[in-house]
């Protein structure tokens, strides 16, 4: 019988938020179509390192395994991406896994991304409807505008773009590309645009769009292929217009 092909994983682990990181290596049986989450599941079934040491299984976050929920973002061979759709066949081996350290590490590959959800509050990330009850019909929409909205609305708050952005981190207050671009989404909606000045003013404040250094890293890593830099540029223009409006309205 042919020998079972193995895939080597080098995993950066950390027991708690204040503990020192360390690495452990695991071998996982190769099979066609194997992805990184499936491999981590195999490690759960047999949490033994290549040195033969039985250890606690690796901790990480995942839900949908279809690249829709955004949970399993981690750094794979140096690049922030979703683990579920990272096929072993397309990765150099050994495969290095590390937590996305732009965010606080909770344990192993599990990180705390609550800051992104907080930023969505700051940019007023909703259409301020009167209520969920039956009232009037929604206005019709230009189908092309709706298509742009659909593209941006795929953002799953995974944090790849924040991890890749050189301006997100302790040196800056930048809330990052994903939450910023969400402001553009709500400004496109026929009812949502009523609150556009609120969103644009929020983006003028510290950590807003002026913190974007236009490095273009975000658009490279977005797993949903959202044209982040295009919308950041549009927003920048809209914010400037709003700033002028603020001057003349006073």
């Amino acid at each position: 019988m042919a020998e079972q092909k193995k895939v080597r994983f080098v995993i950066e682990r950390q027991d708690g938020p204040n503990d020192k990181p360390y690495t452990q290596e695991f071998d996982v049986d190769y099979r066609p179509g194997l992805n990184v989450v499936a491999a981590l599941m195999e490690i759960q079934k047999n949490p033994v390192t290549v040195d033969g040491k039985t250890v606690a299984p690796v901790v990480w976050e995942c839900n949908c395994l279809e690249k829709v929920c955004g949970a399993c973002m981690m750094v794979i061979n140096g690049k922030a991406r979703q683990a579920c759709c990272s096929l072993v066949d397309k990765l150099d081996q050994p495969i290095h896994l590390a937590p996305a350290r732009t965010f606080p590490v909770i344990r192993d590959l599990l990180i705390d991304r609550s800051v992104m959800f907080e930023s969505l509050k700051r940019i007023h990330g909703w259409v301020a409807v009167d209520g969920s009850w039956d009232s009037k019909d929604a206005p019709g929409q230009n189908p092309y505008t709706a298509q742009t909205a659909y593209e941006i609305s795929h953002c799953m708050t995974c944090g790849c773009c924040l991890e890749a952005c050189p301006n997100v981190g302790p040196q800056s207050d930048f809330i990052g590309p994903a939450p910023t671009v969400q402001a553009y989404l709500f400004n496109l909606h026929p009812l949502g645009k009523y609150d556009a000045p609120i969103r644009l003013n929020a983006l003028m404040e510290k950590g807003g769009i002026t913190s974007c250094g236009n490095s273009q890293n975000c658009v490279e890593v977005c797993p949903k292929n959202i044209k982040l830099t295009t919308y950041l540029a549009q927003l920048n223009r809209d914010v400037n217009k709003q700033a002028l409006r603020n001057i003349f309205d006073h």
Binding site: D15, E66, K121, G125, S135, Y150
Partner: protein
């Protein structure tokens, strides 16, 4: 006079939980919202194809009655008709609500909402946002709830796992025990009313189209505390999934709604030449590729497993979109075609996809009345975790509808109950501490387990057993054997050993606790399937003759017929605490509006 604000606990932040949350906030009351994950990552976002509502914007004279009849007929006359009627009547209003909230629905050239075809329905009735409708609907509610969060009426407990309910002296549910999944702190929480909106139990089958968080553990826990389960034997097997070792990924029914065709190679019976056999179109001329899911899955089994056609090892059939113009596909189905490419590495715009049926959705769940009360006062349930609306088979694109609608019903109803004066005493600090302590001690026991079984391998075995015996085709030999094997799995649970004994983000210990609940729920599914001696919707039972599966003169399996006299009743499963086994009874339900008739998708539906 202003109404007294109530405090409601909602467990689960998918469409149902978020919709109920909104309704409660709009009333001026407050919600403690518990979820395994940030609610924006809930499983509702995996729904792809759309949401049914009679919008009638395609000149087809669609009617709410037709939606009602399609749903009841599609559910093989096991759905509570009063409940379904309420849902389909509300559906167009819910679409308008989502539209106002900013859901980027796919639009026509005129800018109105586009509609597509879906299974078991002749009219275009499904609104959609490309092929990621669930994601878009969930985000809209997530945004609205975030808005209420900024006003302080919603407190989110994300990364908290529900462990069990707490009842007061009168036996009324007035709180829960939950655990912080990071710090592993276990805490008791009190409220006026508790709503479970915890989704489906797909993980009982291991590999399925559900997210890893859809383990049914919360439902099983409530069941073990006295909540009745309705119709658990009715599990939807989706005909078109991409099988995978970590999960079976859904390939939406919208593929067929947009013109996709299912086929295998065969030798033409007359000419003997190799040809593509579009077997659904052949077997069901009236509905073709758009037969309901239970019908399509059985047909695929017949063709692949029994006739030996299709691809073998592993079993697959083709789902073909390659005849449809690429730009049309991109606009209507973009997201999922990309998914196929991502995970399989082939472009479905050019080559047929290879698919096979997979466990997908549970029609059954916690029994609730039409207002979403369980049999435990103070405990309500909404969304996939309840048993309402779908009967023996759910129509595609009715789940986003039922999840949203059940939240619309459950939210305001929880407030009525909270103000009714029927809730007995609030929980005392002693009662809360006793419940907390019990869960903390259980967690400590699990952390210390040092047996030889690995919980994840045991889970894999559980899934294998359930797929083997309680799947598309069932028989009483297999179901009896399954129950026996499940008892073995439950015994082996006691011999689990964990390698993580810590108290910080101990995912392994939490999984061990969930696994026990999954095994116990699997027994409820299996026992209910064993005792239902008929075929109805997703529950297809083969006749046994001399202990063997009976075949007819053509060599086809003989299925038991539908038996309305004995089984047009809701299965009710209760947990017997002494024996730890499920007990099955049957309950009448409302089928007063549409008279039962035979379901046959080979011909056009007659009313």
């Amino acid at each position: 006079m202003a109404k007294k604000p109530a405090k409601i606990i909602i467990v689960g932040g998918g469409l149902a939980g978020l919709m109920a949350t909104l309704k409660i906030c709009e009333d001026g009351s407050s919600v403690d919202l518990f979820s395994y994950c940030p609610v924006k990552r809930s499983h509702s976002l995996c729904a792809q194809g759309g949401m049914n509502a009679c919008m009638d914007t395609k000149g087809e004279h669609d009617s709410i009655y037709e939606h009602f009849d399609d749903t009841v007929y599609g559910g093989d006359f096991l759905a509570d008709q009063g409940a379904v009627k309420g849902m389909v009547e509300m559906a167009p209003k819910l679409v308008k609500m989502f539209d106002r909230m900013g859901v980027p629905f796919t639009r026509t050239s005129e800018g109105t909402l586009d509609l597509r075809n879906f299974g078991g329905q002749k009219n275009k009735r499904t609104v959609f946002a490309g092929s990621t409708t669930g994601q878009q609907l969930l985000y809209a509610l997530d945004e609205q709830v975030r808005r209420w969060e900024t006003k302080g009426t919603v407190k989110k407990y994300e990364f908290w796992e529900f462990i069990k309910i707490i009842k007061n002296k009168q036996g009324i549910c007035r709180g829960i025990v939950a655990q912080n999944m990071n710090s592993n702190e276990i805490k008791a929480f009190a409220a006026d009313v508790v709503i479970l909106a915890t989704g489906g139990p797909g993980q009982v089958y291991g590999r399925c189209t559900a997210s890893t968080i859809c383990n049914g553990s919360a439902v099983s826990s409530a069941y073990q505390q006295g909540a009745e389960i309705g119709n658990p034997e009715f599990l939807q097997i989706h005909p078109t999934a991409i099988p995978g070792s970590d999960k079976n990924r859904l390939m939406s029914e919208a593929c067929r709604g947009e013109g996709g065709r299912v086929w295998v190679y065969r030798k033409n019976p007359q000419t003997g030449e190799k040809e593509r056999w579009y077997f659904l179109e052949d077997m069901y001329p009236a509905y073709g590729n758009l037969v309901p899911r239970d019908v399509a899955s059985r047909a695929i089994y017949k063709v692949v497993v029994h006739m030996g056609l299709g691809m073998k090892n592993p079993n697959r059939v083709y789902l073909d979109l390659s005849h449809i113009p690429a730009d049309y596909l991109e606009r209507k189905l973009g997201g999922i075609l990309e998914m196929y490419d991502d995970f399989v590495g082939e472009d479905p715009r050019k080559v047929p996809m290879e698919i096979f049926p997979s466990i997908h959705y549970s029609m059954g769940g916690i029994w609730v009345d039409t207002k979403h009360h369980t049999n435990i006062p103070g405990l309500m349930a909404a969304g996939e975790c309840d048993y309402q609306y779908h009967g023996a088979n759910r129509l595609g694109a009715n789940s986003l509808l039922s999840a949203t609608y059940s939240g619309v019903v459950a939210g305001p109803e929880s407030l009525r109950l909270a103000r009714s004066g029927e809730l007995g005493d609030a929980l005392t600090p002693e009662e809360m501490e006793a419940a907390r302590k019990e869960c903390a001690e259980e967690f400590d026991r699990i952390r210390a387990m040092n047996g030889t079984e690995n919980a994840h391998r045991l889970h894999h075995e559980l899934g294998d057993i359930m797929y083997k015996y309680v799947s598309v085709e069932r028989d009483n030999n297999g179901l009896a054997e399954c129950l026996k094997e499940l008892k073995g799995i439950l015994r082996r649970w006691d011999s689990i050993g964990v390698t993580d004994h810590g108290t910080w983000a101990n995912q392994e210990a939490m999984f061990v606790r969930q696994l026990r609940n999954m095994i116990i729920y699997a027994m409820a599914i299996t026992k209910a399937a064993l005792l239902r001696d008929e075929s109805r919707g997703a529950h297809a039972k083969i006749v046994l003759e001399n202990g063997e599966r009976k075949l007819d003169e053509n060599g086809d399996l003989v299925f038991m017929p539908r038996d309305d006299a004995r089984f047009m009743k809701t299965t009710i499963v209760s947990f017997n605490k002494e024996t730890e086994e499920p007990e099955v009874t049957y309950r009448e339900f409302d089928h007063s509006l549409i008279k039962p008739r035979l379901r046959n998708y080979a011909v056009a539906k007659k009313e």
